[in-house]
């Protein structure tokens, strides 16, 4: 069963990434010269990511827990380093420019050490109070530089992941409720202070009241989805998304792909993202290490939640947040880091099997 789950995760991740290549190709085909430029780049990143996932899955699980502190410290420094060496795109200082066309977004790569650090703290032999303190300290150490970029979408995913890891890791209900209350109060304050947030909420609640301004993005999402119908455009080429939808490659990737492929394949994408944590549960069931167990669950859960939030935004179920769709949105950093994260998940499950075999042999 574990091998089946291993294979299921591997195949689901690769299939979703290939669907992403199709989405990027569709969106860019009508306005790029050469027309395959973005699609080909995305395919190359998919290939590199799939290879990275395969090789990382071969790393023994014992290494991950040992390496976590060094890995976390080294990668954390890339976040504040952005303020010295990073570049600003769309009013966000979130990338290092390697060349004029290759940019790296560290906040995508730091998701893995962030989860590993939190899990390591929960699985440590410290007292509950110490664990909680370390847990909160790590969470805030990671999200503050991300909030200062400012990348509130990614920050909210980090926060949500931290809360879920804490809760699944048998954290106290009371502390979780307290944490949620604090976040709720902060959200209310931000709503009161930021006209941009207020506009987004008003545009979400009544898009037709100001269709040219606050309701524009919401209406473009709905119109793009409407163009999809049951099976999308016959030629798999999108028309509306490249012309009207803001950021069709990244923050609006799901709506773009629905325009190209339609409702039925869209359902499979939603199911795919829901099934990843289900497969992870199966993968985790035979492991014995608490670190491996919690990591195998936490990483897929983080990406599933990010995907469902993105899909909820694109289907206008919740107000607009700038979150990309893992594996499908355009961008090498996001794609490769997601593959690496699933490589870590597979590595932890593989090595546990070896350990179990060793244990059985010794018995």
């Amino acid at each position: 069963m574990k091998n089946n789950a291993y294979l299921a995760i591997f195949i689901t991740v690769v299939l979703l990434a290939l669907a992403g290549c199709l989405a990027i190709y569709n969106v860019s085909s009508s306005r790029c010269i050469p027309f395959y430029y973005h699609g080909l780049r995305q395919f190359c990143w998919t290939f590199i990511g799939a290879c990275a996932m395969f090789f990382i899955s071969k790393i023994p699980s014992s290494k991950w827990q040992k390496w976590t502190p060094f890995y976390a410290i080294i990668t954390w420094f890339s976040l504040p380093a952005l303020f010295l060496f990073g570049i600003t795109i769309n009013q966000m200082t979130g990338w290092f420019a390697i060349t004029s066309s290759i940019h790296i977004q560290p906040s995508e790569f730091t998701k893995i050490p962030f989860v590993l650090s939190l899990v390591a703290v929960l699985c440590s032999p410290f007292s509950t109070t110490k664990k909680d303190l370390y847990f909160i300290a790590i969470t805030f150490f990671w999200i503050i530089p991300i909030a200062l970029q400012p990348d509130f979408g990614t920050m909210s995913i980090y926060l949500l992941t931290a809360m879920l890891i804490y809760w699944i890791g048998n954290g106290s209900h009371l502390k979780i409720i307290g944490f949620i209350s604090i976040i709720f109060i902060i959200t209310l304050i931000i709503y009161q202070l930021s006209s941009r947030v207020q506009n987004r909420i008003h545009g979400f609640l009544d898009p037709f009241s100001d269709p040219e301004n606050t309701g524009w993005h919401i209406l473009q999402f709905r119109t793009t989805l409407a163009h999809g119908g049951w099976f999308g455009h016959s030629s798999f080429e999108t028309e509306w998304a490249p012309l009207y939808l803001p950021l069709p490659h990244s923050d609006s990737a799901f709506a773009s792909i629905i325009e190209a492929v339609g409702f039925i394949p869209g359902i499979f994408i939603i199911i795919g993202f829901f099934m990843i944590p289900v497969f992870a549960k199966k993968l985790m069931e035979t492991t014995t290490s608490p670190f491996a167990k919690l990591t195998i669950i936490a990483i897929p859960l983080m990406y599933s939640i990010q995907a469902l939030v993105h899909i909820a935004v694109n289907t206008t179920t919740i107000p607009i947040t700038g979150i990309t769709l893992p594996l499908l949105s355009y961008g090498g950093s996001s794609l490769v880091s997601t593959f690496i994260a699933f490589g870590v998940v597979l590595s932890l499950s593989q090595a546990t099997k070896n350990k179990s075999n060793l244990l059985q042999n010794s018995i």
Partner: protein, 243 residues
């Protein structure tokens, strides 16, 4: 240590999270169904309203010739450089200063409270420079508007009285309001073209989407039975002309 290991993961809580994710997935599937299938027609209708633009291409008015085939009156297309922001604003003033290095001194002429003419009757080289240096980077503030203008071979009062005047309609075509221009208005006026084109969110035309709803037909030329000399010398000639 064993109890610590057992306590570090809660299957029950994970199951609850899976149930929540399943519920969210069902809601998202329904929302997807709603916009792709249930309310599809409504949003496609809305899409048609915002993607298609119809416009009029004013027909060029016919020329007027004298009995010796000398062209007395003709129409040419001219281009004006238009601003839609207050020219006193700092960043706009800087751009205008840049324009003055090529176009010479500019004194903005207000059309109404939103638009100013910076320069009319642009030469082809001026037009090309403005397109590449100004419109490409600041199209939200500056634009080029083209219109048909009537040109006359002479400005002699008798000649201008005889030929008459034209007015520009809201569609940009010319309408004769006096003199020969008025008497032979229907002959000189052509049929405006009507086009339909897709536009993107910036209102730029989408390549390949242009269709002609109505073909443009230029106005007919008019040949008078008088010479230019006769028109200039005889101030009452207009009364003897029958349309």
């Amino acid at each position: 240590m064993i109890s610590h290991i057992e306590n570090s993961f809660s299957s029950k809580r994970f199951f609850i999270i899976l149930c929540i994710l399943a519920t969210i997935s069902v809601v998202l599937c329904f929302q997807l169904y709603r916009y792709t299938i249930l309310e599809r027609d409504h949003f496609l209708q809305y899409a048609n309203q915002i993607i298609w633009r119809e416009g009029i291409i004013p027909s060029p008015r016919g020329s007027i010739y004298d009995c010796n085939n000398i062209c007395l009156v003709w129409s040419v297309r001219t281009h004006s450089f238009i601003l839609n922001q207050n020219p006193q604003k700092k960043h706009i003033a800087q751009i205008i200063k840049k324009c003055e290095t090529i176009l010479g001194p500019i004194s903005p002429l207000p059309i109404n409270e939103h638009f100013w003419i910076l320069r009319d009757q642009l030469s082809p080289s001026e037009l090309a420079w403005i397109q590449s240096e100004i419109i490409s980077s600041s199209s939200q503030f500056f634009s080029i508007q083209s219109q048909m203008s009537r040109c006359y071979i002479s400005n002699h009062p008798n000649f201008r009285h005889f030929i008459g005047e034209v007015d520009v309609t809201i569609h940009g075509s010319q309408l004769g309001i006096s003199g020969i221009e008025k008497k032979f208005n229907s002959h000189l006026t052509g049929t405006n073209g009507i086009y339909r084109v897709k536009v993107n969110y910036k209102q730029d035309f989408v390549p390949g989407s242009w269709t002609d709803v109505q073909k443009l037909k230029p106005g007919n030329s008019l040949k008078l039975k008088y010479s230019l000399q006769e028109i200039i010398e005889n101030p009452t000639l207009l009364n003897s002309v029958e349309s």
